[in-house]
């Protein structure tokens, strides 16, 4: 922008030639460069998705021999095949696991976030720092211990957590709680204290002040944390693959797609891409609709105005 304001007081002698490339350019060229830059970003983000969609419409034999994705014939055969393989169950499982994880994680995290932002507690800074440390937790450290615990639980009370929704939801909640608490603490801290003070002056108990006054104001933060939790749970592969690898009654989408090659067939390129398109489209729509909330959530820890 307004590059032309620069010219006046600069000592010209110190300027090496390539330094001021934008100065020599007319405004239309600067504008064109900016649009070109944006085009690069857009192509970067969308091209693999476009490749995926085109490949899913080609027959496997074509896709495997001819790299030109624009050459037909195009069919929906692969989509029919993944539905025959039960991909819709994987979609259902992912939706259930991610929703229940979010529904458990967010209320629990909201309570903790409110306590950390507002209530008098000893060692608040330490607790918050520990929460941040907990976000680093590598899931692979949970695989074996939880596996053993699940076996124990099964032999003690006959409750099978392996190959079950609960077996995935439990660790997902534990792993998403720290980030959710952190985001919600940030949002609760941003709500002016006077609002709840005045509610208390009007006779509200601390709990009423939280539930009736602060919670609704924190809705954007709650939304942001919920979306990030949901996306984490739809994305998680390692634990789902370890605890529920093959049973279509509980197998989630990442496991279905990630282990596809090992299911049989010659080379299921068309089916893998069709399944990928089927799960990506709803997620992308989800991201488009909730864009503002997502950005708010992702950046709440990083920068604070």
């Amino acid at each position: 922008m307004s590059e032309h304001t620069v010219q006046a007081p600069r000592p010209a002698a110190t300027a090496p030639p390539p330094r001021r490339r934008s100065k020599g350019l007319p405004p239309w060229a600067v504008a064109a460069l900016k649009i070109l830059g944006l085009a690069v970003v857009v192509v970067w983000c969308l091209f693999p998705f476009f490749w995926m969609a085109m490949t899913s419409l080609r027959t496997g034999a074509d896709a495997l021999t001819d790299p030109n994705i624009l050459r037909g014939p195009f069919t929906f055969e692969s989509y029919e095949q993944v539905v025959d393989l039960g991909f819709q169950y994987a979609l259902r499982n992912s939706l259930i696991v991610a929703s229940v994880t979010t529904l458990i994680c967010i209320p629990v995290a909201a309570l903790a976030g409110y306590a950390l932002a507002r209530l008098p507690l000893a060692g608040k800074f330490v607790i918050l720092a520990l929460t941040l440390v907990a976000t680093l937790f590598p899931p692979v450290a949970l695989v074996n211990p939880l596996y053993q615990v699940y076996l124990e639980v099964d032999s003690l009370i006959g409750l099978s957590l392996l190959n079950s929704y609960a077996g995935m939801i439990l660790p997902y909640v534990a792993l998403t709680l720290p980030l959710a608490i952190f985001i919600l603490t940030t949002f609760f801290s941003g709500i002016p204290k006077e609002i709840e003070e005045s509610a208390k002056v009007d006779g509200a108990t601390p709990f009423q002040a939280f539930w009736r006054v602060v919670a609704p104001l924190a809705a954007p933060g709650v939304g942001a944390a919920a979306i990030l939790t949901f996306v984490y749970a739809t994305n998680e592969f390692l634990l789902a693959f370890s605890f529920a690898p093959a049973d279509l009654n509980v197998q989630t989408v990442p496991v279905f797609i990630g282990t596809f090659e090992r299911v049989g067939y010659e080379d299921p390129i068309g089916q893998v891409m069709a399944a990928s398109v089927l799960v990506s489209i709803p997620l992308i729509l989800f991201a488009l609709v909730l864009q503002r909330r997502i950005v708010a959530g992702l950046t709440s820890g990083a920068v604070k105005g």
Partner: protein, 303 residues
């Protein structure tokens, strides 16, 4: 129960006292994390001290850790993890920064780009891994066709590492851009004007104004990305299964946990992974954490 402590009672005469409420609100989160995350870690550390074959358990102390030191597969996992992390995080940072600057400069199409940039982030990693694996595949050779090369991307140890790094950079550079863009938007325009008046050129303005003020956002982006790269499982497993030329620490540990059970050794491996990830993360947090955490934490209570 705690509601009757003098402090709580003196604050407010009715309802749940604030201190009690604070503990009560924190309890579920911390109970959950302790039960599902903290306890398993100690359990894993305990198990890592045993040699376990079927139902036989024999205490071997640090034997499994010593085994790791003599295991070439372990070294290649450490090497792969390290190469992957350093390369992909550096590229993501540079490309993410470029994208953020582009988006920050733009007038037209900014809204569209901000939406589109979420696409790689929201697509599941398993999907991204499969798409890139097939683009790199030797048979149709889409990438080979574009480059006019004939590289066996999925078999060759070096080129397959290039493959997973490309996939990861594609997926997360936009995420880095988003974090940095948010940081850029908090820098007041006056600072740039002032720098201009003082005769700073574009590079100097970037170096002396943008970078220092962007530091908190940069640190957080690097923290998230580094930790995620260190514990990465999906890309390496989907590209190459358990084969050693791509296996990261998470893949290598998971192999002995599930695929070829050798539980004592596997738990030693996952404990090592845990320690490495935690140490690196803590190094970030301890250096920069105070400013980040300090912003989320409220100022000292007034009384």
């Amino acid at each position: 129960m705690v509601a009757r402590t003098p402090a709580a009672r003196s604050r407010r005469g009715h309802g749940l006292g604030e201190r009690a409420m604070g503990r009560f609100f924190l309890a579920p989160s911390f109970a959950f994390m302790a039960l599902i995350a903290l306890f398993p870690v100690f359990y894993a550390i305990g198990m890592s001290l045993y040699r376990i074959r079927g139902f036989d358990q024999e205490f071997v102390g640090l034997g499994n850790y010593l085994d790791a030191l003599g295991d070439s597969g372990f070294y290649s996992a450490v090497f792969n993890t390290f190469v992957f992390t350093v390369t992909s995080v550096s590229l993501e940072f540079v490309i993410g920064m470029a994208f953020a600057l582009i988006m920050h400069q733009a007038f037209v199409g900014r809204g569209l780009t901000r939406v589109v940039i979420l696409v790689p982030w929201v697509v599941p990693t398993a999907v991204a891994a499969q798409v890139w694996r097939y683009m790199f595949d030797h048979n149709p050779g889409f990438v080979n066709a574009v480059l006019g090369a004939d590289i066996n991307w999925l078999r060759d140890p070096f080129w397959s590492m290039v493959g997973i790094i490309s996939a990861d950079v594609w997926k997360t550079a936009p995420f880095v851009a988003l974090l940095l863009l948010a940081g850029l938007q908090t820098i007041p325009r006056d600072f740039y004007e002032a720098a201009r008046v003082d005769g700073a050129n574009a590079v100097q303005r970037f170096w002396y104004v943008t970078l220092p003020l962007l530091k908190p956002a940069i640190v957080v982006a690097l923290l998230f990305r580094t930790v995620d790269a260190l514990r990465m499982f999906d890309f390496a497993y989907i590209f190459a299964g358990y084969s050693n030329h791509l296996a990261t620490l998470s893949v290598y540990a998971q192999r002995y946990l599930i695929a070829e059970p050798d539980l004592g050794y596997a738990n030693a491996l996952s404990t090592i992974t845990f320690i490495i990830v935690m140490l690196v993360g803590l190094a970030f947090i301890s250096r920069m954490g105070r400013q980040v955490v300090g912003e989320a934490a409220p100022r000292k209570e007034k009384a």
